[in-house]
């Protein structure tokens, strides 16, 4: 039941991945022949293609890096910061190109990082010196820098000399076209981020949770804030060529948000987010490999979003389906307890003189149709709470069909009646309700009271034996006074 069990979440993650793989590949088989599909599958997993090796390694690195840093921006409510950065770096990409007039990845990397950092500084400056809030400041920087970047890109396209082919991959991303140098950068930034988070985990944790307290501790909270922002800017720059401007923030936010649904401890969130990021990366690389011209980036994000949707449906705490199942099983339990309570009431009416109660009496008490009562009885029998005395109607036409509770059924019945009457007594004695107002409330509460609360109520009410209406509150002693006989045959 515990929502944070790591293995459960890992198993879930694995399961989800298999599911996505199954679903999407099934759609793909339609237009590929089976042999071709299996062929591709083997080729994919044997990593025979060098370009596939690049794409796959890049996807794994990017998934880790963005999952880790994304977790911090998600818990710090800075999700829009990823989007702002990815748009703000564009003019830097263009300037890096203009600087060398070639597509030198290092020049572009430096230009992009500087532009991204300038963007964060401008956001910070606007929202600390004016009364414009941070979200508006991010919106301003995002669109302003992006527009400037597009203008510069258009100018570059019109230059006669330069070798400008492939600049558009910064806009839309093209993971399959990554060069060895690109891969080096991705690897270095990922390892730097991983190292920083492992080494400074406690500093990042406390500055993210309570910035003022971190400063008061004497930690350089500001330094760690800027370190995270720098790593974020670097990771946005390396992710840009793989998934493109618009989808970078999804790579940061989606795996982290998925992890946040599944755990409530930061270190687990970091691990899950990087696993989800890697999983989405591999899935994206795989699907884009199946079809020749399919883009990797969008497939990575589709896979990540599918994981999120599945977590939303199935996560133990927030999942719609587990909640539905819990409600269903609770409703069923309440129904069974109500049937048992009705049996108690019928026996009480006869001063507990009869053991087996006629089905007819139960039906009258429950005010249900014969078929509904039969269904409830079957439930009781199936769960070992009762057994039926079913005389052969031809041999003994006069004998009634009778229901007998088993010891565990009788105990449950007594427990529910006790809860009901204790609660009524508590409401009248301690909360000063009128005795005729308490029944409906007790009908609900009786199914929810735990043993420790019952003990508290008993102590508080000084171990009562009679409810406000003068009826017996059954206790364990009463149980032994009314021994149960099995069905007589």
């Amino acid at each position: 039941m515990h929502p944070n069990h790591p293995y459960r979440a890992l198993a879930l993650a694995g399961g989800l991945l298999l599911l996505t793989a199954g679903d999407l590949s099934a759609a793909k088989i339609g237009d590929l022949s089976d042999t071709r599909f299996w062929d591709q599958l083997i080729r994919f997993f044997s990593l025979r293609d060098p370009s596939l090796r690049y794409t796959l390694t890049a996807s794994l690195f990017l998934g880790t890096c963005c999952g880790l840093l994304g977790s911090f921006i998600v818990v710090r409510k800075l999700s829009l910061m990823g989007d702002t950065l990815s748009h703000a770096v564009l003019p830097g990409v263009a300037l890096g190109f203009l600087w060398t007039m070639t597509k030198n990845p290092w020049a572009i990397f430096v230009g992009a990082t500087l532009a991204g950092l300038l963007g964060t500084v401008v956001v910070h400056w606007i929202h600390t010196t004016t009364h414009i809030k941070e979200d508006s400041a991010m919106g301003l920087v995002l669109s302003g820098f992006y527009a400037l970047g597009i203008c510069l890109f258009t100018m570059i396209q019109q230059l006669p000399t330069a070798n400008k082919a492939g600049l558009d991959k910064f806009l839309f991303g093209q993971a399959a076209a990554l060069s060895a140098e690109d891969l080096w950068m991705i690897g270095i930034v990922t390892i730097l981020s991983l190292l920083a988070i492992v080494l400074f985990y406690k500093e990042f944790l406390v500055t993210s949770f309570d910035f003022g307290f971190a400063q008061a501790l004497g930690l350089s909270a500001r330094f760690f804030h800027y370190l995270i922002m720098l790593l974020l800017a670097l990771s946005v720059v390396i992710a840009l060529q793989a998934v493109g401007v618009v989808l970078v923030s999804a790579l940061l936010i989606t795996p982290a948000a998925t992890a946040f649904l599944l755990t409530d401890r930061m270190h687990r969130m970091l691990i899950y987010a990087s696993l989800f990021g890697m999983g989405a990366g591999v899935a994206g690389a795989f699907f884009s490999y199946l079809g020749n011209s399919l883009p990797t980036g969008p497939f990575i994000i589709v896979a990540a979003s599918t994981l999120f949707a599945l977590a939303l449906l199935f996560s133990n705490r927030y999942g719609i389906i587990p909640r539905w199942i819990r409600n269903l099983s609770r409703d069923r339990r309440i129904q069974i307890e109500n049937t048992l309570k009705a049996v108690y009431h019928v026996r009480e009416k006869n001063a507990f003189s009869i053991d087996g109660i006629p089905v007819k009496a139960l039906q009258n008490r429950r005010k249900l149709s014969p078929s509904e009562v039969e269904k409830e009885i079957r439930q009781l029998v199936r769960r070992g709470f009762a057994s039926m005395d079913e005389p052969d109607p031809e041999a003994l036409p006069d004998r009634e069909r009778k229901l007998f509770l088993t010891p565990s059924g009788w105990e449950t019945a007594c427990r529910i009646v006790r809860n009901h009457r204790l609660w009524e007594l508590y409401l009248t004695e301690s909360v000063r309700y009128q005795p005729d107002h308490v029944h409906d409330d007790a009908e609900e509460i009786e199914h929810l009271l735990g043993e420790d609360i019952v003990r508290q109520l008993e102590r508080r009410l000084n171990y009562p034996t009679r409810d406000p209406h003068g009826k017996l509150i059954p206790s364990l002693q009463d149980l032994s006074k009314t021994p149960l006989a099995g069905p007589s045959r």
């Binding site: 406690k202 944790l205 949770f209 004497g218």
Partner: protein, 262 residues
């Protein structure tokens, strides 16, 4: 206390401004060791700002603050801090123990993780605030009073000599309030010095040895008996007559019932 020992807190001519608009003017203050000092004043008087300025979170535009004779940076380990409860996001993915352990982070060097001894301290602090059964709870499942106890436990885990508490009684239940008051007097008995931002005048007289009346400037500061008078409170709260008349009522009632001071 020997004259050579520097006081836990000394503030000289401290002025703090936000966006060039001063919120605190020329505060001069020396807090002697082993006192429980209440900071009292109307909303917007700069009570929290004073605490933040002491901690170096709000940079002063003039003046200085010394903690045991040294600038804050050099003595940060000797100061424990309880921020306002609303200052953090309680949906953050940490549990109660994680938060209390953060009190130990100032004592751990770079690259060090909290060890067994730190966990033991955190456990003892949780026990002191009666939150040990909640150690593994995610913090979003706590009530306001429980959140405040967790913050207090985190400050206790700092094992400091001077404690600064920003509105620790805001929005907590009666049981938590009396538990916190208990812990504060225990700390004072151990010779610790405490400054507490407080906005309930009716209890201020009962809780504190000394009071600092604040309204953008220091209106008065001294032992509670001398400072808690109608004239001085009126000077602090200005024309806010409703508050004043309530306090005047409670003052006169208390004078009848409890003629003796501490």
């Amino acid at each position: 206390m020997s004259p050579q020992t520097p006081p836990p807190l000394e503030i000289h001519d401290l002025t703090v401004a936000y966006h060039k608009k001063p919120v605190l003017y020329g505060i001069d203050l020396v807090v002697p060791s082993g006192r429980l000092v209440g900071i009292v004043g109307p909303n917007g008087a700069g009570k929290s700002t004073l605490i933040k300025a002491i901690l170096g979170l709000a940079p002063p535009s003039s003046g200085w603050v010394k903690i045991f004779g040294k600038p804050y940076r050099n003595n940060a380990k000797r100061v424990g801090y309880v921020p306002q409860r609303e200052s953090v996001d309680w949906d953050f993915p940490v549990n109660v123990r994680d938060v209390v352990l953060m009190g130990r982070y100032g004592r751990l060097g770079w690259l060090k993780r909290p060890g067994k001894a730190d966990r033991e301290v955190a456990r003892a602090c949780l026990e002191k605030v009666q939150m040990l059964p909640y150690a593994n709870r995610q913090i979003s499942n706590l009530s306001g009073g429980q959140q405040q106890r967790v913050f207090l436990a985190r400050a206790l885990a700092q094992e400091s000599d001077l404690y600064l508490l920003d509105e620790p009684f805001a929005g907590v239940d009666v049981a938590t309030e009396s538990a916190i008051v208990n812990i504060l007097s225990q700390l004072r008995a151990q010779g610790k010095t405490l400054m507490v931002v407080h906005h309930d005048l009716t209890t201020a007289r009962k809780y504190f040895d000394m009071l600092l009346l604040l309204n953008m400037r220091m209106v008065d500061y001294g032992p509670t008996d001398e400072v808690f008078t109608y004239e001085k409170l009126q000077a602090t709260y200005g024309g806010r007559l409703t508050i004043l008349s309530q306090v005047a009522d409670s003052l006169s009632q208390e004078k009848e019932n409890l003629p003796v001071g501490p």
